[in-house]
């Protein structure tokens, strides 16, 4: 399963948010999208998961243009953990997770025991299996985020798109969430704020600035102090990271 964006552009009125993005994610590769606030990470992801339509360029899943696929076909190919999951109405955790089976269902088909098994397994994976019948709105932000990941896993798609998946999570669950994503053995494209987590879990990073790709490479290649200074406007030092051949970034101060 590979994912490709070719010259994707998106703008609202006069404001160009994305200006010709090229991007390729290979089968089972984990690619992190980095860049400062407002660089277009979320917008690019939204174009990929189809809630926005690019003004130009195209996005391909396994070599087929997204526009040729029905929403159902693309939902079978990629699952999404979006940034905002604020719901007005109260569902149980199980109700929410079972919705991940939607693309696999005919319209009038009910939930089978098999669907429950898949949903329970996903809940267990994110450590929420004891919460099945809890009301979704009564959960903390971090718990909600994990339930949404469980829904995405329940979709059983070969590609995961995540927008800031570690927001609201405490450190244990940040690591756990990314471990689950890594161990899922699927193609992953995710926007990440935390450069250290990004370099620990991503095979490759793509840096965005003002709607353009300004750099790509393995974390070690890409994240030099000079590059970080140009992209984010902060000084930093790079030290050896927690795993073999990885890096850790220590941010020292903003560029004055």
């Amino acid at each position: 399963m590979n994912l490709q964006a070719e010259q994707v552009a998106f703008g609202i009125g006069q404001t160009q948010i994305l200006q010709g993005i090229d991007l390729k994610v290979q089968d089972r590769e984990i690619v992190g999208l980095i860049g400062p606030n407002g660089s277009g990470k979320s917008t690019l992801l939204k174009c990929i998961y189809r809630t926005l339509h690019p003004n130009a360029g195209q996005i391909m899943l396994n070599g087929r243009a997204l526009d040729e696929l029905s929403f159902r076909e693309s939902a079978l190919q990629m699952a999404v953990v979006a940034q905002h999951n604020q719901y007005q109405f109260d569902f149980s955790v199980m109700d929410i997770v079972l919705m991940g089976r939607m693309p696999h269902k005919k319209l009038l088909e009910g939930d089978t025991p098999g669907d429950y098994t898949i949903a329970r397994r996903a809940l267990a994976q994110v450590g929420m299996d004891h919460m099945e019948t809890r009301s979704f709105l009564s959960l903390s932000g971090g718990e909600q985020q994990r339930v949404i990941l469980a829904r995405a896993l329940t979709q059983e798609s070969p590609c995961l798109i995540l927008d800031e998946p570690t927001n609201h999570l405490d450190i244990k669950y940040q690591l756990e969430m990314l471990e689950i994503v890594r161990d899922a053995g699927v193609t992953v494209l995710m926007a990440v704020h935390d450069l250290n987590l990004a370099s620990q879990f991503c095979h490759r990073l793509v840096a965005l600035e003002k709607g353009r790709v300004v750099g790509t490479g393995t974390p070690k290649e890409l994240l030099t102090p000079e590059f970080i200074q140009n992209l984010y406007g902060v000084h930093s030092r790079i030290v050896e990271g927690p795993t073999e051949d990885s890096i850790h970034i220590i941010f020292t101060e903003t560029v004055k």
Binding site: Y49, R50, T51, S70, F71, R72, E73, S74, A75, L76, M78, A79, V80, A82, N85, Y87, Q88, F89, D90, F91, S92, M94, D95, M99, G100, M102, P103, K105, L107, L108, Y116, E132, T133, S135, L137, Q155
Partner: protein, 351 residues
């Protein structure tokens, strides 16, 4: 509570409500200006179905008429309208993704009122025959529904906010139009008729009407029940739905049209009866959660029960006078709604 116990709870509540509904309907048949003893009532009802039971009362013709031509159609109509209002409340809340929506939120009641007002005060639509006020109200309701749909689709796809705003705008226009007609009317009796009509009444029930209502209320309810998945998804919004493979747009249009037809006919049959479509879905959501699998059937039964009871009270609470059912339901409904609001466990969907 596991999902299996949830299903059992829904079934259990459903059975209790069906029992209450049957009891309520029997109670309603029993009460009225003419006193009918319980065993006579039973004979009158049963004689329709079982040949061997015959009525030995000399007044059987009159009793038969009271039960079968007056009370029975009225009770059945109350149940159907109640079920229709409650379910379209549920549907409207899903369509506009707002727990505070009710069946009339998109201006249907204003459209119906305008239709009824021009019929009563200006005699428009007399050509439709005896039922012309109801028919004009139905036309008014439909014109507004489709108007809202068309306006909300201008300049890009309709979404919840555009639907609500279009509904408010058209509603305001209709209210203004109705007020002008009433303001310049010199017809005191006509104005009273308009007011009475706007407060709702089930007095017009007859078996022909029941035939139509069975079709236009029960078919949509069963249809909406089959749409549980999509309706659940609507509550989570367009973005989530797209990532799960569903484009809600055309479903929203379809549901809106079906729900409008249901409400249009309810208005035609019984005028405007508020609060049912707001109160019942809320009580059910609070008790059983917001999954439409349980919400739709239980709301339908709850709405039916509420209207049967309210209608019985409205025609018996003051001897020889009928209290408009709209007034009665608001009097019961508003305090019940406030009670829901101040109860800590339920946050009206907000948190």
């Amino acid at each position: 509570m596991s999902n299996r116990t949830h299903t059992l709870t829904v079934v259990g509540v459903g059975i209790i409500l069906i029992a209450l509904l049957i009891a309520g309907m029997a109670w309603s048949l029993f009460l009225g200006t003419v006193h009918i003893p319980a065993n006579t009532l039973w004979q009158v009802v049963a004689s329709k179905f079982v040949d061997t039971i015959t009525i030995e009362d000399p007044r059987q013709g009159a009793l038969n008429d009271i039960v079968w031509m007056l009370r029975m159609p009225r009770v059945v109509l109350a149940a159907l309208v109640g079920a229709g209002l409650a379910v379209s409340g549920v549907i409207m809340q899903a369509i506009v993704k707002n727990p505070l929506a009710d069946p009339y939120i998109l201006g249907i009641s204003s459209g119906a009122s305008t239709g009824a007002t021009v019929a009563i005060l200006m005699g428009v639509g007399i050509a439709f025959g005896e039922e012309y006020v109801g028919i004009m109200a139905f036309i008014g309701a439909m014109v507004i529904s489709f108007g809202v749909l068309i306006i909300a689709n201008m300049g890009g796809r309709a979404n919840a906010i555009k639907l609500l705003l279009a509904g408010m705008a058209l509603s305001a226009v209709c209210s203004a139009f109705t007020s002008i007609i009433v303001y310049f009317a010199n017809d005191k009796e006509g104005i009273q008729n308009v007011i009475f009509w706007m407060m709702g009444s089930l007095a017009g029930a007859n078996w022909d009407l029941i035939g139509i209502m069975l079709l236009v209320i029960l078919v949509p309810i069963v249809f909406f029940w089959s749409q549980t998945r999509i309706l659940n998804l609507m509550l989570l919004g367009d973005e989530v739905a797209i990532t799960l493979g569903i484009d809600l747009h055309r479903y929203r249009q379809l549901y809106l049209v079906m729900s409008s037809i249901m409400i249009g006919f309810a208005v035609y049959a019984a005028g405007i009866i508020g609060f049912v479509g707001l109160l019942i879905p809320h009580i059910v959501r609070q008790a059983l959660g917001t999954n439409h699998k349980g919400l739709i059937p239980i709301s339908a039964l709850g709405g039916a029960l509420l209207l049967v009871v309210a209608d019985t009270l409205s025609r018996t609470i003051i001897p020889h006078t009928e209290l408009p059912i709209g007034i009665l339901i608001s009097v019961i409904g508003a305090p019940a709604f406030v009670y829901l609001m101040i109860k800590q466990t339920y946050a009206f969907g907000g948190n």
